[in-house]
């Protein structure tokens, strides 16, 4: 695991731990297998502090997407304990899942935009689901689209957008409701270097505003340039469990 010098300087000691806020997310011995296949994740343990920024790295098939799926509650672990926003997911009633999901923003690797909706409608989706009135969020959505550089494409359908535009649209949808955690799966996988840097700056800006960010990426250069801490998965195991100040593998 690489260390961010800025963050290494605040490596937790006992006093720091006592004062540290409760993690927004913690994994304890989490394993995951699909059907009767091999385990995709094996005994993964770590926790994320509020407002932290991490990259989740590893080669293809290492289990990055699976780990994200477990966090955004699209799958259940085969073994282990996941605590999200202080809630033990193993005993959480199913009816409370939607409320937890609304606190999580997800940027999918393949965007998963709704092709039959305009850019504006795609971004407004989480707010509609949360039951907000259109008048209450109309201007906010337009402002957010402008912020990600899609102000002139409010009414565009996803099929008419470039890869970079789709990526930014997916990011706007993920952050529109002000999530506590932002997850992104290979968000720079389909864009050039310049766009990748712009997207990274976007995530950093969101992190500055208090959002906990976890980005899955195999782009080692991007991770190195960002200087942000890294969670490295290899063959389903969390590599180098040594902790830094904000991420605490256990």
């Amino acid at each position: 695991m690489s260390r961010n010098p800025r963050q290494t300087s605040s490596f937790p000691d006992a006093a720091h731990d006592a004062a540290a806020p409760a993690p927004v997310l913690s994994f304890a011995g989490v394993s995951m297998r699909y059907g009767r296949g091999q385990e995709t994740l094996r005994g993964v343990s770590f926790s994320l502090q509020p407002g932290s920024f991490h990259f989740l790295t590893g080669p293809s098939g290492a289990g990055k997407s699976t780990l994200l799926k477990l966090i955004y509650l699209a799958a259940r672990p085969s073994r282990g304990l996941i605590t999200l926003f202080g809630q033990d997911l193993a005993v959480l009633p199913p009816r409370q899942l939607p409320h937890l999901r609304r606190r999580i923003g997800v940027v999918f690797q393949e965007f998963r935009l709704l092709d039959h909706l305009s850019a504006f409608d795609n971004v407004a989706l989480p707010l509609r689901i949360a039951g907000k009135k259109p008048k209450a969020y109309r201007d906010d959505v337009a402002e957010l689209l402008s912020w990600v550089g899609l102000g002139p494409r409010l009414h565009a359908m996803p099929a008419t957008l470039s890869g970079g535009e789709k990526q930014r649209l997916a990011i706007a949808r993920a952050v529109v409701s002000g999530p506590d955690i932002l997850l992104a799966d290979e968000p720079t996988g389909n864009v050039d270097d310049e766009m990748a840097q712009r997207i990274l700056r976007l995530f950093v800006e969101l992190n500055r505003q208090g959002t906990t960010v976890l980005i899955a990426s195999h782009d080692r250069d991007l991770v190195a340039r960002s200087g942000m801490p890294e969670l490295r998965l290899e063959q389903g195991r969390l590599f180098d469990p040594a902790a830094d100040s904000r991420m605490t593998p256990e």
Binding site: A74, A75, P98, S118, R128
Partner: protein, 305 residues
């Protein structure tokens, strides 16, 4: 897009449909539901017509009675029938008593015995037909007592046996029509349930995005509920209009007297078709909601989306 154009877009913007709008499959489904609703409408019209027919026949029978007169002693059967008619016309609750002439009595036997068997030697019984007061008809006992007092050997038939049969037949006809109506409604519900599950399966990716964005199962089921209710409403309108045109044609072509004497259609019956679109929408809404919730629950049991 200029700032002005963006403002214009925002002013005109209304949220788009979260489930994609209809395609060819939707049109096919509307057609199938319309056909089912059409049969349900016809069944409803048939039930009303059967009810009216049974009621009419029973009323006719209740308003009349028949007396079979047999000769006694040296008196001719015609004289006995004339006496019976005279005696019965004085009974309270009888408006008119008419003794059928010999020719008419023989004519009644012709369908059973054939024309050749009807000759003058045949001891054909005589009938007295009674037109009873519809409000307070004379009872069979009153009529029998009057005949006995006049020393006439006769049998009174107040049609009670026939009336029971007709009422029973009418009830069966109504039940059959209601059964057909219920079956078609169930068939429509099954078709919609199947279609709702097919939509969820085909739009699995949309469902997953909605789930991950925090949508509850009932929110997603609500999307399907509104969609299928709207489709069923349209199908119901088409079916009711079709059945209405057919019912009107039947009524214009003769109604109770001409084209469909056994099942007379009245204009007022067509009003029964008016709730059809709402009923179809209601059945579709319930069916879509429960099938969608069932499938979403199954999906959630497998994983969380």
């Amino acid at each position: 897009m200029s700032a002005e154009a963006a403002q214009s877009f925002l002013r005109r913007w209304t949220p788009g449909p979260l489930m994609p709008r209809g395609d060819v499959r939707d049109a096919s489904l509307v057609f199938v539901i319309a056909v089912l609703c059409f049969f349900a409408c016809l069944a409803a019209l048939a039930a009303l017509a059967a009810d009216r027919a049974a009621g009419g026949w029973a009323a006719q029978l209740q308003g009349s009675a028949t007396v079979l007169v047999r000769p006694t002693g040296g008196e001719s059967v015609d004289a006995a029938a004339a006496r019976a008619a005279e005696a019965l016309s004085g009974v309270r609750g009888v408006n008119e008593a008419v003794a059928l002439e010999k020719d008419k009595a023989l004519a009644l036997l012709q369908p059973w015995l054939g024309k050749d068997a009807l000759d003058d030697d045949l001891p054909a019984p005589r009938l007295v037909t009674l037109d009873l007061d519809p409000i307070a008809p004379a009872s069979a006992a009153d009529l029998g007592a009057a005949l006995k007092a006049a020393n006439i050997d006769a049998t009174v038939d107040d049609h009670s046996l026939w009336i029971k049969d007709i009422v029973r037949a009418g009830a069966w006809a109504r039940a059959a029509a209601v059964g057909v109506f219920a079956l078609t409604a169930l068939a429509a519900a099954a078709v919609i349930a199947h279609a709702a599950r097919a939509v969820l399966a085909a739009r699995h990716e949309i469902v997953e995005v909605l789930h991950v964005s925090g949508a509850e199962d009932r929110f997603i089921a609500g999307l399907l509920l509104r969609r299928f209710a709207a489709m069923a409403f349209v199908a119901g309108v088409i079916a009711a209009a079709g059945a209405g045109v057919l019912g009107a044609a039947v009524r214009l072509a003769g109604g109770g007297e001409g084209l469909t004497p056994p099942l007379p259609v009245a204009w007022i019956d067509l009003a029964a078709l008016l709730p059809c679109p709402l009923l179809a929408a209601g059945v579709a809404a319930l069916s879509a909601r429960f099938s969608a919730l069932g499938l979403l629950r199954d999906m959630s049991n497998k994983d969380w989306t």
